[in-house]
Structures are given as C-alpha cells and as structure tokens.
C-alpha cells in the first residue's frame, strides 16, 4: 500500500506538500517572530544556503572541488558595494552587475583551472581566490583596501513611485534571502532533472568515460562554474547589503571558502537539500558557540560547575574555539558519514525499511 507516495520526477507528493508547508511557514515567520536576533540567524542561514547550493553545483554535482568560492562571493559583494558607494547605482541593478562580473571572472578562471584535475584543481582554485583577496587589499582606489567599504543606508526599492520596501528593518532582508534561496534551490532541482545534471554527474564520476560518451568537458565544467559563480555572487551581494560593511578579510577570505565547502560536506554534497541541512546545522551552531550559549547552557544545566576549572575555561575559551570545534565536527562527519548528514539519514532510513520488510 502506497497511497501518498506517487512518484513525480523522483519526488513524492508527500515531499511536495511538506515543502509547500515549510515555504508557507517561512513566509509567515516574520509576522509572529519579532526577535531581530532570530531573524538575523535566519538571514545568515539563507545566505549560507545560497552559497552552499552554488558551490554544490560545481563541487557536488560536477565533482570539481573548488576551495576558492570566496572569490565569487567577494566579487559579487564588492561589485554591488562599489557601484552603490561610488557610482550611486542602486543594488537591484548592482546585484546583477555583481553576478555578471562573477560570471566573467568564473569563465576566465575556469578556462585556466579546468585543465587541472583533482588536487591540482583544488590548489589552483585556492590560489586564484587569494589573488582576488590580495588585489582587493591593494587596489585601494577601487576597493578602499583593508579599510573596506561601509555603507550607511540603502536606497529604498521603488517601482515607479511606489516604495516597496525601505530596507530599514531586517524583514526586507529576510524576504530577499528567502526568495533567493528558494530560487537557487529550484534552479538546482531543474539542473538535477535535466541533461545538464546528468552530464555534470557523469563528469564527477569519471571524466574520461564522460569525455568518450560525447560530453564536452570544458563546456560543461564551465557551465557548472557559471551557475555556481552567479549563485555565490548573489549571496555575496546580499551579505554585503545586509551587513553594510565588507573588507577583504571577510568576503574574500580563505576561511570563507573553506566554510562554504564544509557546510556542503556536512550536509551532503551532490544533493539538493545537503547545503540546506549544512546551513541549518552550522549557522546556529557557530552562533551558539560565538555567543557562548553552549558554555552557559552547560553551566546552567549543572553539568559543569561555574567555579570549577573546566567551567571557567569553557566560559572563557569556548567562544574562541569555534573554528576548532568546526574542525572536529568535519572530521567526525567525514569519518562516520562520508555522504554527509543527509546521506547518513537516507542510509538509516533504507536500513529501517529493509528491517521492516
């Protein structure tokens, strides 16, 4: 008996209903959640979902592990901000300009780096991203160097004379992020269910076999990179506008590149929902570490006494150790869940079903 599980292109109606429910819930959320901190976390999650999904197209589906995606994030962020600050071009155009510049840089980088395979491609992608970071530090006329770019206010979004939003609270950013994330996930789904998706995965599994089956490697790798760069630059632009400040150390940093890859690996690469799960776990987790919620909770629950050496150590140091804990988490996931949390859950589900039948 399988009443609700009718297959439409690999998704069940149950999943569709669940998806619609989640989307409706997310759209309604700002109506009854007024805490700006909660909205802040949600916006960060959306940005992480967009970047993760962007990386996933190139890294997860096509198997080209770029550890230089901060380049596209930064290019998007800087283009939007520079245009806004020095040319007074409103961000709704600036974001697209950012995507175009990211696309162009992506294709230039791709045509060079895609000659390399495996670890050499990874190293090249890191090197290219570093070039961008160092350039942004030194091209002071364009980027304001290490001081970064600070914007105080964003021009309101208008159609004709009607003001749609003035971007004064977090809510408009929340909706922008939500819509962008939904679009990116939808495009990923389209890709997965098209020739592109098949070709991307074939390239991931075996480049030579793919090549011999009539797949133009350069063309399809660059197509994957193009999509990936555009998504990542959208996230960069949104981040820049939301935070209002960028500098090379935040939007072009190697640490950011690593974080993008990590959230995908932890969630599950090469799947639509992997980056989402990675974002939902990692963003609140790192926020909790940073704001000392975890140490405080351990103390409050009475597990660790505040006066003990361990207690004071946790309270003092845990917030600084989030990178270390990230690292440990990554090692654990790679060792015990090589397909990420999503893959692990799926395997668990398959096992349960096997046992039941």
């Amino acid at each position: 008996m399988k009443p609700l599980l009718i297959n439409i292109k690999g998704i069940t109606t149950l999943t569709i209903l669940f998806g619609i429910a989640v989307v409706v819930f997310l759209f309604a959320l700002p109506k009854f959640v007024t805490s700006t901190y909660a909205l802040h976390i949600m916006i960060l999650i959306f940005i992480s979902v967009i970047t993760g999904s962007g990386w996933n197209i190139l890294g997860g589906y096509t198997g080209q592990y770029s550890v230089g995606h901060a380049a596209y994030f930064g290019v998007g962020a800087y283009t939007t901000m520079v245009l806004l600050q020095y040319r007074h071009i409103v961000p709704w155009y600036g974001i697209w300009a950012g995507a175009a510049v990211a696309l162009a840089t992506g294709l230039i980088i791709g045509s060079i780096c895609f000659r390399l395979r495996g670890p050499y491609f990874v190293l090249a992608s890191i090197a290219v991203a570093e070039i961008f970071r160092v350039s942004a530090l030194n091209l002071k006329d364009l980027t304001n160097g290490a001081e970064g770019i600070l914007i105080s206010d964003i021009p309101p979004l208008q159609i004709g004379d009607t003001v749609i939003t003035d971007f004064l609270s977090k809510v408009p950013f929340y909706y922008t992020g939500l819509v962008m994330a939904i679009c990116v996930i939808f495009v990923t789904w389209l890709v997965q269910n098209s020739k592109l998706g098949y070709y991307f995965q074939a390239i991931r599994e075996d480049q030579d076999a793919a090549h011999s089956l009539g797949i133009n490697l350069t063309l399809y790798k660059n197509a994957a990179l193009a999509l990936s760069a555009i998504f990542t630059s959208f996230a960069g632009s949104l981040y820049a506008l939301y935070v209002g400040f960028i500098d090379p150390g935040t939007v072009l940093d190697l640490g950011l590149s690593v974080q993008i890859v990590m959230s995908c690996i932890i969630g599950g690469i090469g799947t639509i929902f992997g980056p989402m799960i990675g974002a939902i776990i990692l963003v609140p987790f790192s926020e909790a570490l940073r704001s000392n919620v975890i140490a405080q909770a351990l103390i409050d629950s009475g597990l660790v006494s505040e006066q003990s050496a361990l207690g004071s150590f946790l309270k003092e140091q845990l917030s600084h150790a989030h990178v270390l804990i990230y690292g440990i988490l990554l090692v654990v996931v790679i060792l015990f869940m090589p397909d990420g949390i999503l893959g692990f859950l799926r395997k668990l589900g398959a096992k349960k079903r096997k046992e039941a039948s």
């Binding site: 070709y199 995965q201 075996d206 793919a210 090549h211 011999s212 089956l213 490697l217």
Partner: protein, 239 residues
Amino acid sequence: MALLEINRVSKFFGGLAANSDISFEVPQGTIMGLIGPNGAGKTTLFNCITGFYPPSRGEILFNHQLMNGLHPDAVCKLGMARTWQKVRPLAKMSVLDNVMVGALCRTNSLRTARSAALEQLKVVHLEHRAGVKAGSLPIGERKKLEVARVLATQPKLLLLDEVMGGLNPAESEELIELILEINKLGITQMVIEHNMRAIMRISDRIVVLNSGEKLAEGSPEEIVANQAVVHAYLGESNA
C-alpha cells in the same frame, strides 16, 4: 567501402614508438579483430583513433573525414564510440542513468533518453538491473553496461577494448553472442581481445600488432597459419 582508414599512423611517447607506421582499413559492417602481445600498442591505437591521443604522424579517416586532432566528445558525436579495458562505470549513478548519459549524446530530452536507454539495456540483457547503482554490479554485468552505454550513443563504429578480460567462460560466451548481435544491427566493430578462441570466431579480419608495428593482417585462418604471428606469441623456436 572502408568506414575507417588508418593511414601510416605513428604515436611516440618521447623516444618510444608505441605505434609506428600502422595502416589498415575497416570495411563497413565487419568485425575487425585487433590482437597482439601485451604492450603491442593496441590500446594506444584505440586512444589515437578515438581522440584521446593525437597521433604523432599519419591520418585517421572515418567516413572519409579526417579525425586527427578532434576531441573524444566530437569523435563520439560523429559516430565512433569506445569501451575501456578497465571498465569505467559512473559508480554512484544507477545503471539506467549510466546508459542515459550515453543516450543524451543524441537528444536533449530526458524522456527520449530514458526510453532509448531502456532499449539498450534490453539488448545487453541488463533491464532487470536498471535501478541498481552501477558501482555495485559484478564485473560481468559492468562489461555489459559499458557496451549498453556506448551503444546508446548510436555509433556507426564501436571499438571494444578487451570486453572479455576477467570474465569466466560462460560470461565470455554471452559477450560473444552480444558482439555478433550488434554486428547484425549493422554496427561495424573493432575488437581488442586476448581470448583467441573468441577473436577467431567473431572476426571477419584480424590485424596483429607487435612492438608497435603491424605484424600481419588477414582472415582468422590466415592469421593462425602465419609463422610470424606464432613467433610473436610463443617466441622463436631454436629447434
């Protein structure tokens, strides 16, 4: 009419001549056997023909079109497809998806590709494995999958690189049947094989390579009777 013409093809790796001055023709609709001891340059020749290596010298003509310098994907689109000595399944994709990747060479529609792929799976008798991950197939079925996948690209010429390597006699027999069936579909084939019994049975003509050079060419009967070929395989007799 010759579908494939190999015209004085040489391939050098540094000072090593992996292929030197090889010429032969593969007529339309036939099965051409390619044999030779290990290291004779059979796979290198396949790589040259299918665009993985550019030949250092000579010409490769397919359908009277010069193939030199074309990339493997272009070669495939023109109707020449190869399998690999070491099978290369797209491990994390299903058997059906593997064949669909081949079929997508000729169509942009997943639906068309899917039905074409199912048809090819029937040809190689793998339709019952369509939903299985390709990486979990045993070697015999992997070899068949490899054949189904290249068939799905609708080749005019199929190059099979040791499809029977590592198979037991029963599985080899199935592949022999398969190759003969493919021949009946009108697809020309070039087959590298170490299994002599098989190659003698299926080939219309055989080319023998040794140390990168063409040693002999002829019908299976002629090859068996050729002293130079026997020497290449068994060594010179001092008696």
